[in-house]
Symmetry: none
Subunit: 412 residues, 2 copies
């Protein structure tokens, strides 16, 4: 089974958008064991789209077309497919109804041209996942197949994961299964991890499977991906289980979670296990700790509230000590104050200097994390690189990681 | 002059690296007035590379090949070019000497295979910029031209800017400049904007320039990009100015900013112009409003603080009315309370139901925005689609947009 990816959009050619969709699809195809030999991008031009589709189908068994499914005149993927298939467009009433319902549920009037999205090439099947107004398409042509998915990343991903990849595997009669698992780490550099794992990597090179790969992910840390290939899923999963155990033994508490588990989801999970609630006092992180915790489903059970303070009156809400305190004791004081004021088991606070300039003799990028767990109060200083955005981001993750390690230690 | 871009590298197809090089080259070509009709990516396979090069030269006048110029066995761009040109490789002693000198200056021994990089197709010229060990190539073939540049971004950029673009413009003999400007809008769907601008789009279609394009950007709204082509920059800029005025006339306050201006930066800007300060009370948005405002440099001058409240005691901090209130009056009450408690000129609050389930008879995705500006207090209900993340995101932008419109009206 050989596949190609065709991304549609003049804005991609002009460099106004980076084509991350093709990369993501390429990764999913690789994990599913489907060879992908070429990615192509063309603009919103019907002639060049038809040419690119026909060439791709000449070389490959399957083509994933991404983009050009919107409601406007320059969304031409449906038209290009009808030309290639030699058919017309027909109104799909199920899709039309779905689009009408989507507008109705938002209480917005539906511009009539949105129904263009319900016009699908005759003979095409629509993809059941449809998070937006654009339906995805599965178009068989002889023994080949074209899939059309929207360029909006979250819509595309849901359709590719939910329909395109399983359909390709079914068509390929795939005799092998490739599974992967990601161990997420924080607090060690990529080269540091490589040193910790050097012997294990050598052993795996000899064995051939599973394989390891490192993936630097900025403020989210370094991911270690384990990939196992086997003839059936159970065997692949056993290989992943065994390797995860080996890697956890070597990396210890550097590993904070698996796969899509975020640092903040780990923290919420540990708080729940300990029966503790959390309150935040944010100065230098400016609400980012609260925003990330709130993104975790169900976090409101353990995360009671936060105060973001850019002014003396906001600090006074917490009953924080008055006057100018050294930052380290200010962080500890705020953690204790917010913890008491909100009646939480744990208080976490951030103060520091965002930059670009130093302030009060403290260098830009200096962050003090205050942590109060019951009567234990501490303050930890971290020095962070980069601009405003990176100092806030690293400060947030550093604070969560400190809390995670303390909760882990308390659980032992 | 029509150009194409060919990126080489199996890691690009597998999604291990996102192909930002093609996007950057596409942008440079557009700015130089060179049409770019297609981007292609293939892996490190000599047969497929030759095929892709020959196809591209069949369609276009110029091809920029990016990657595959390194010293290892799977760096095959030089070999693919010799096959297409029907020539052999010859050692370029100037390049060889440059590579030897580069290793010597770092005090490192030179692995012999690095000299492979000095073997260039017979008849090719080398690009004078050479920041690394890989030389770039200019290969004329009849009336067409191929450029080969390394995949390392900073090496590629120096060569493209220093040699490839000027050489293409010289060959085209028609210097032209393309500039673009983006009007950022919020509150109308892509199809709704298309209807508002339908007549203007028809007029521009006849005129040929400037051109308009829509770009959906999720919770950030829809971007309307104006692109103007002229023989020199001043004329292109005048066209953009004139078109921006026309579009602002048609779209009115749907336009919240230009280019990289975010909704929250617009809000901070308007608050400063009005001499007002802001305080937030966040329930349903969970700190996201505070986090986004804090990301704006200098926002701490007008953004005094925020309370994120998931518990009665956090709400009590604000002196909010006790007991269960209907959500609409709760939003208004919180806005007024946080405004007074923090001594701010404006209070903005969010309450609602994140979902996935309805709560207290209120549907999931319902958000009430409370806004207090001085003695004027109001509550606005919005119905938002999607999961927890999207409801928080849309709720945040909806609140900012409401504040923006009120501040605009107050400025008139």
């Amino acid at each position: 089974m050989r596949a190609e990816v065709l991304a549609i959009g003049t804005e991609l050619l002009l460099g106004q958008i980076v084509d991350t969709n093709s990369s993501w699809i390429g990764e999913q195809l690789a994990l599913a064991g489907v060879d992908c030999l070429r990615h192509v991008r063309v603009g919103d031009n019907i002639g060049r789209m038809v040419e690119a589709i026909e060439e791709a189908l000449g070389r490959a068994d399957a083509l994933i077309i991404c983009g050009g499914l919107g409601p406007t005149q320059d969304d031409l993927t449906r038209d290009a497919i009808t030309r290639v298939m030699g058919v017309g467009l027909v109104r799909d009433e199920v899709v039309a109804e779905r689009i009408r319902a989507m507008f109705a549920s938002r209480g917005r009037p539906m511009p009539e041209n949105n129904l263009r999205q319900a016009d699908v090439p005759a003979g095409a099947a629509t993809i059941p996942q449809q998070p937006g107004t654009a339906p995805g398409l599965v178009c068989a042509l002889g023994d080949k197949v074209m899939y059309a998915v929207p360029g909006v990343p979250y819509e595309m991903r849901e359709m590719v994961a939910g329909t395109v990849i399983p359909d390709l595997q079914r068509r390929a009669g795939q005799p092998s299964v490739i599974l992967s698992r990601t161990l997420r780490t924080w607090g060690q550099s990529e080269s540091g991890l490589a040193e910790l794992l050097a012997l294990r990597i050598d052993e795996l090179d000899v064995a051939g499977s599973p394989t390891l790969a490192f993936l630097a992910s900025g403020i989210e840390g370094i991911k270690v991906r384990v990939t196992a290939k086997a003839t059936e899923a159970g065997a692949a999963r056993s290989m992943l289980d065994a390797e995860e155990a080996v890697l956890r033994g070597l990396l210890g508490e550097l590993v904070f979670g698996l796969d899509e588990m975020t640092m903040e989801a780990t923290v919420v999970d540990l708080l729940r296990k300990r029966g503790l609630t959390l309150a935040l006092a944010e100065s230098v992180t400016g609400g980012l700790m609260a925003a990330r915790l709130s993104a975790v489903a169900g976090s409101e059970d353990v995360f009671l509230g936060a105060v973001t303070a850019n002014s003396p009156r906001a600090l006074a809400l917490l009953g924080a000590p008055e006057g100018v305190a050294p930052l380290a004791s200010a962080a500890a004081g705020l953690a204790r104050a917010v913890c008491r004021t909100l009646g939480a088991g744990v208080g976490l606070a951030s103060v520091g200097v965002l930059g670009p300039e130093a302030s009060g003799g403290v260098a830009a990028g200096t962050v003090f994390i205050g942590l109060a767990i019951g009567d234990d109060v501490e303050s930890v200083e971290v020095r962070l690189p980069g601009d405003r955005e990176r100092v806030r981001g690293y400060g947030t993750i550093s604070a969560f990681d400190l809390l995670r390690r303390r909760l882990l230690a308390a659980l032992v």
